[in-house]
Subunit: 582 residues, 2 copies
């Protein structure tokens, strides 16, 4: 029941769904990347994930991290796995060659991330923020800071953290209190307490680079008074830097990940970006992290699907209705033949594969945004990635958790025991709905900022992509997607018109709107899949299976769309207040 990297499906997405090789040829930075190279990279990542990370997943969860004399010890094997990761050159994968990177497209990074998170979410927390820190430093760091710190991130000698949360300030960064006092030499003394800092301390690398949101002395109140500082855990010559791990959180899941309470006591740091411009700098990192978190949801769904499928193929209970007794004369049928289990298993497979196309598609738009020579296309790609990111983050992590629970149900009582790995997937998956901006924050970001914020202009681009697919395809799937597009456009128009329902109205509609978009995107994913299948041999098993999956999606899952539209309509109704118990 060991997790296997879904290389076959990854190849299908790259080769047929994205037609990635052709797309890369249009982007000079990636023109040398062909499908063969891409698949080799994925095979290597698969080997690392299957052979190094997956075996550490359950033991790392059981052992957890511990704080010994002020330093964090990660579970046995985590540090060695990290050395193997560095030796494999993985930190450099999607970094630019001029920074020492391999210059591979983000779509490959997305596939690699999926594998890391699926095989060992707790471990992958340590490396997860590195690419965001790289992007942030590259975009906002001074030349000096870049020269000093980028090489370590790219080589993997350094790992990074994102130090935002404080006890009183979680979703609301405006409430941050951490201070940064100028020391006169261009550096700052950073003081304050940070909470829930993933990888805030560990024994994977000597160097840890903290990216800390803090306030300069003259900072305006609120979120516009935040500055981002790079605070290394140690200074030249092995001198400590006033960063102390005060404690580790005991958590529902990702127990192999050190979630630290950090105390900065006049720790030396340097501004990244402008004074009071910390939010802009942090958002570069945050957007990368949000896509990664969405890919965690995909990884959990894939892990859950594999576990449930393998168990259901093996476990026999009762006769399946309408199924003739198996030839071997066993007294019961494998449970994958039972209708309720078939519904569950198909939902697991179909949602997971749909998510994969959409997650990689989003990463591909980021590649286009960064590497196209056509400024208009770059702008469009940026807009699309910005719209897709909150949907991927929230919807994928919702699915990661709900699908893990459905997979656990397939195991019956065994699923509830720690003997079987599915309960860990359930526990691990739950955090992804919360961190990097709760899913409620994602929904507000999508509807309020990104759809309504520009009068629907950006959203029209996304809708245009879906309509183009509906127009390119034929048959029931394309037709259903066309209807979805019409209705989605109508919903957006209706929401735009409905300011009369008061200032809270779009916030009430936002959660359902995000889910509606996720359903529409899945319809798009499967309509395009159906069209891609024409390139496969008529009798290819993959072709048959993908057709069956698409049919299942349109018959059984697309009806979610109506419920989500109804929820947006319901949002026109005002809500009572929740008061103290009387």
């Amino acid at each position: 029941m060991a997790w296997k990297a879904p290389l076959q499906d990854m190849q299908f997405v790259l080769e047929h769904w994205l037609r990635a090789e052709q797309a890369w040829q249009r982007l000079p930075a990636y023109a040398d990347v062909d499908l063969e190279l891409a698949l080799q990279v994925l095979q290597e990542a698969a080997r690392f994930s299957e052979q190094v990370l997956a075996p550490l997943n359950a033991p790392g969860d059981r052992q957890g991290c511990r704080l010994e004399q002020g330093r964090v010890r990660t579970p046995d094997g985590f540090a060695a796995a990290y050395r193997a990761y560095v030796d494999g050159g993985w930190p450099a994968l999607a970094c630019e060659p001029r920074c020492g990177g391999q210059g591979l497209p983000l779509v490959l990074d997305a596939a690699v991330q999926e594998m890391l998170f699926a095989s060992n979410h707790g471990w992958a927390m340590y490396t997860g923020i590195a690419h965001g820190a790289y992007l942030c430093l590259k975009a906002h760091g001074s030349a000096q800071l870049q020269a000093r710190y980028l090489p370590g991130i790219v080589s993997g000698a350094s790992l990074a953290t994102m130090c935002l949360t404080e006890p009183q300030a979680g979703s609301d960064l405006a409430l941050l209190r951490c201070r940064a006092e100028p020391l006169g030499d261009g550096s700052y003394a950073v003081t304050g307490n940070k909470l829930f800092i993933s990888g805030g301390d560990h024994d994977l690398t000597r160097d840890i680079l903290h990216l800390v949101l803090a306030r300069l002395p003259d900072a305006p109140a609120g979120s516009r008074g935040l500055s981002l500082l790079l605070v290394p855990n140690g200074l030249e010559g092995g001198v400590g830097n006033g960063v102390q791990c005060d404690g580790l959180e005991h958590k529902l899941g990702i127990r192999g990940s050190a979630t630290c309470a950090l105390r900065f006591e006049g720790a030396k740091g340097w501004l990244v970006g402008q004074a009071h411009g910390g939010l802009a700098a942090v958002f570069v990192m945050m957007n990368s992290a949000r896509l990664h978190v969405g890919l965690q949801g995909l990884g959990h769904a894939e892990a859950a699907w594999q576990l449930a499928r393998d168990y259901a193929l093996e476990r026999r209970q009762m006769r399946a209705p309408g199924h003739s007794p198996s030839a071997g004369g066993a007294a019961a049928d494998p449970i994958h033949l039972h209708p309720a289990m078939r519904l569950t298993l198909l939902e697991l497979r179909v949602r997971t594969e749909g998510m994969r196309t959409l997650g990689y598609w989003t990463a591909h738009w980021l590649d286009v945004a960064g590497a196209s020579t056509d400024p208009a296309l770059r702008a469009k790609a940026s807009t699309l990635a910005a719209l897709l990111t909150p949907i991927i983050k929230a919807a994928f992590t919702d699915y990661g958790f709900s699908l893990s629970s459905k997979a656990l149900q397939v195991f019956g009582g065994y699923g509830y025991t720690c003997e079987f790995p599915i309960e860990q997937v359930l526990r691990d998956s739950r955090i992804a709905m919360i961190y990097e901006g709760t899913n409620e924050i994602q929904a507000n970001d999508l509807l309020l900022r990104k759809v309504l914020g520009d009068g629907g202009e950006g959203f029209a681009l996304l809708l245009g992509e879906l309509r183009a697919e509906a127009g390119a395809g034929q048959g029931a799937a394309a037709e259903a997607l066309g209807t979805v597009c019409d209705r989605l456009q109508g919903v957006v128009a209706e929401v735009e018109r409905s300011a009369a329902h008061g200032p809270q109205y779009p916030y009430r509609a936002a959660g359902a709107f995000l889910q509606l978009c996720a359903t529409a995107l899945q319809a798009f994913a499967w309509a395009r899949t159906v069209r891609c299948l024409e390139a496969l041999q008529a009798d290819a098993p993959l072709r048959r299976e993908k057709h069956e999956s698409a049919t299942f999606f349109f018959n059984y899952l697309l009806p979610d769309f109506d419920r989500q539209v109804a929820a947006i309509e319901a949002a026109a109704c005002p809500l009572p207040f929740i008061g103290e118990p009387f």
Copy 2:
């Protein structure tokens, strides 16, 4: 943030929604029970749950059970809490006076169970099966067995277990292998391995009565060859009885509950009911247990709601849109004012309170079934309880888990840590969807056996109750309920007609059908609530709040109904098979 028994809402349900006092007057066995007595009982149970059980909930989870020299040690305080429970006379609550019981109605037992499960699910697992064992022995035990064992169950000197599951036989009892050989003196030697036995061993009582499903030597194969045996853990004079606890499960939740692997090695036991008639005997116990499990879902939902509400009233993050800054000048608003949190909190409150009416209503039908002097009414009440039980079991436990997850989201990152109690509610709640018949089994039981099994006759009785409520009320709620009834009737007729879709069709529709019934019942619950409110003072805060809850239900939650109808329609589409990965 301590759990408080929801006595006010319990009183509302008893006094106004059920009009329980008037109902009891029509049942001679309960004619002496008035509202005042009922509320006194609930206040006592509340005190016990709040002061004795709730404080042991988190510590019991952390400490868990351990196996020491073959005997189970429960967490510190569990045994003392059980002594207090026995001293309070709680085991006797709903037992007949002729057996030493207090003869109180099951509807009060339901409220007490809700409190036990909400305050400490792990602990309540030990007592949870006792009433089922009492009913089973009373209905199927010989006079000798009753005389010997009933008093201990009623007094609480003995606790009972239900020994069904074996490693190869979970949902499928037909696969059971445990054997029972006649010893010639009317007793049997029971041999075999049982798995997942809650309270299979513990230190709460000396005497544990195992109710074991096993096969006699001449038994036919399959589930019709099962017999039920009572096997005490020890014999007269302190002699052991060949029952060994081989291990404890490490589980996602309910860690204070000892989930045992039991080995019976020629243990002496006595038949309960007929030889080969074990299933009939076990179903008495199982039906009681299924209602109890549904009440666990209610308890989890109530606990989750209280935790989320209290936190949301306290925690401040960001300005709520359209909300004028609070007078105190705080930089952020309490999060219960944020639209996304308001939606979550209202769903928590409204679902929980709706579940409470329906859970107690089901228990009340059991009281009518057992105590009415009118045979026709007894028959009707039995039918209604049989229909309602799988719905309560499955829908309530689905809600218990999904609402716990929603409540956890209110806490943000804190919710994911073990410092806050909500993650335990999430973990504990998950088992209830699995045990006592998975929720998929409940759905099959409802649609295949109880609705289609008698050609819809029984279901017409349930629909009649809903229609009567729709007719009795006025206004939007009653009208919406009327529409729900029409559509539900249409769905049942359609499902009955659709045999042409093949033998798997109703099994594909069963899960959605159960959810549909649950939504219809919630519409019924809230329509009746609206009507009941007329009895309250016009300016009573409870009246306003219940009106708001009902409005929220019909605006925001009832649209689930359409999605569930669509899922049943989708079930007409055949499903592909899940194969081995290729």
